[in-house]
Symmetry: D3
Subunit: 125 residues, 6 copies
């Protein structure tokens, strides 16, 4: 199999992965918010608001969310914040500096999650 | 694709997921217990006994196991305790209150695992 | 030094420890809530409400909070929930069963925090 | 005891706490770097460089270090980054927004460490 | 389906899993090292050197890496060190003793990762 | 204050710290084992046996316990295993290599605990 084919195959496969990730995420969030539990709703609401533009820019806050997710090694959370950072125009060399802080703080166990983060970032291009 | 079809497809797919989860779990446990290591056997034994009916009911203990697994973000452990709680007759609104404590204690990184927990709970219905 | 004296000395010393713990906790909470940050206030509010009597009793929820704090090894949180459980009339043999679930789930690294929990429990008697 | 006295007493006590913290930190770092272990030296070197001004500003990187330390609940690390952020001119309302992201991502177990962070911040004023 | 067939099927399936694991690992590492970030390169370099033969043997260091990865519950890291330990001639009964220390220190949440570790070990035979 | 005086002062102060650490540890363990909870006793028993000489030497197992405690950042556990390693004749340059693996795996958040470990090691000399 040629490199070119593999890349093409990845491209479509990856696009599906991004979509699939977002679809499951949204479907389950709805399911959870449909439950009567008011405190869970409040938490979800808070989880959105905390990243709103404030004294710090939305981009800075999303970088904070990304590094926090990275050192806590939560792949879903990482992907979500990678997506947000990307949409907000974070540059690749800035993205890698965020990862680098997470790597030094959290150690080599962060590496597999860094791989996922970079893989997801590449799919978003 | 209609919603109805998707649900039907999920239903059978999910049933397989529960089975598959249980099958791998049991096969590997046997493999591990077949090893001569006596202390591992003792730990596995302890891991069963700690949830036995005692001064606290088995249901309460399984809820404790569930919230502990949730904040430590161990999907396999979560699924196991969701299954136990379900079999012991925990009601959905109680189930969500257990999740809610875990969510507030453990923060938004718990959310992806909460999604898995609710998804697994729905498969057990 | 006789055992009896040591115990007496502990008694008063420990009482101070409980008070000191509560004093610092409250002073800093006030300081934090005095900051203009509305989302932090919302989180603190949520952190109280989640333990309110609901479909599960307040006592069950406090046990859930205790075991979650134990496996996450947060001494301050452990102390807070030990205090709540004690006030709500949890019996010592029930208390130890909560600890036991946390110990098996979280492993031997939980032991130092279990020591603190038991020490704090004894101070509350 | 009047509030005013307590504050004054704190002021000097706190100043000592900052100094003591820095003294032990530096003494042990020297001790560790005196050991022949070259790879430990390399790690310490890396741990400094990663916060250097780059594509992201030093201040942004220190905020990243702070939130990462907060969700991993490492008091020493938190204090170090609070100190750096403070020296680099971070404003109090920005500081609280960093804490807020950490609180929502990491949950209520982060609160005791947030208290320490704010206490340390106040000592630096 | 006979046991024999299942085993045979596993054998080839598993071989692919080992390969696939190594392929993704290497591809993403290259991608990451291709980024201009010098500090990430330095970390990766350090991550290799720390396991070099030194005052402690390479095998001892790989066992240390394995138990550390196990209690931190990082499947990718576990697999990597299982592979290294296996290549360096660690015996199965020694392997299980490493797992056992990790199990007692880290608790029952380690069990799913222990299953993965043993499954991967068996694939390497 | 001269360096020599400081060292002497440390020496006696530190010796007390080692003793105090061991005293609280033993007193609380007894208190916990006096509780009727049979499963806690079993866990404590297991926690001793897992470090017994086996296919791996006691020293190797204590190093495994040390690195696991280090990456999980449990100061009490670290101190216990440092003490055991020291008694079993681990050399300083080997000790630092264990720390180094923990540092690279667990990242810079391990550093404060490494400081404690080295401080405790020095007190044992």
């Amino acid at each position: 199999m040629s490199d070119k084919n593999e890349t093409r195959q990845n491209f479509s496969g990856e696009a599906e992965k991004v979509e699939e990730f977002n679809e499951f995420r949204e479907r389950m969030n709805e399911r959870i918010l449909d439950s009567a539990n008011i405190n869970i709703k409040r938490f979800f609401n808070l989880d959105t608001r905390v990243y709103d533009e404030g004294n710090l820019s939305k981009q800075t806050k999303e970088m904070l969310g990304l590094v926090a997710s990275l050192v806590l090694r939560c792949d879903e959370c990482i992907k979500y914040h990678v997506q947000q950072c990307h949409e907000l125009g974070l540059k690749e060399e800035e993205f890698f500096e965020v990862l680098n802080v997470g790597l030094v703080v959290g150690g080599s166990i962060v590496i597999p999650h860094m791989r996922e983060a970079v893989d997801f970032w590449d799919q978003l291009q």
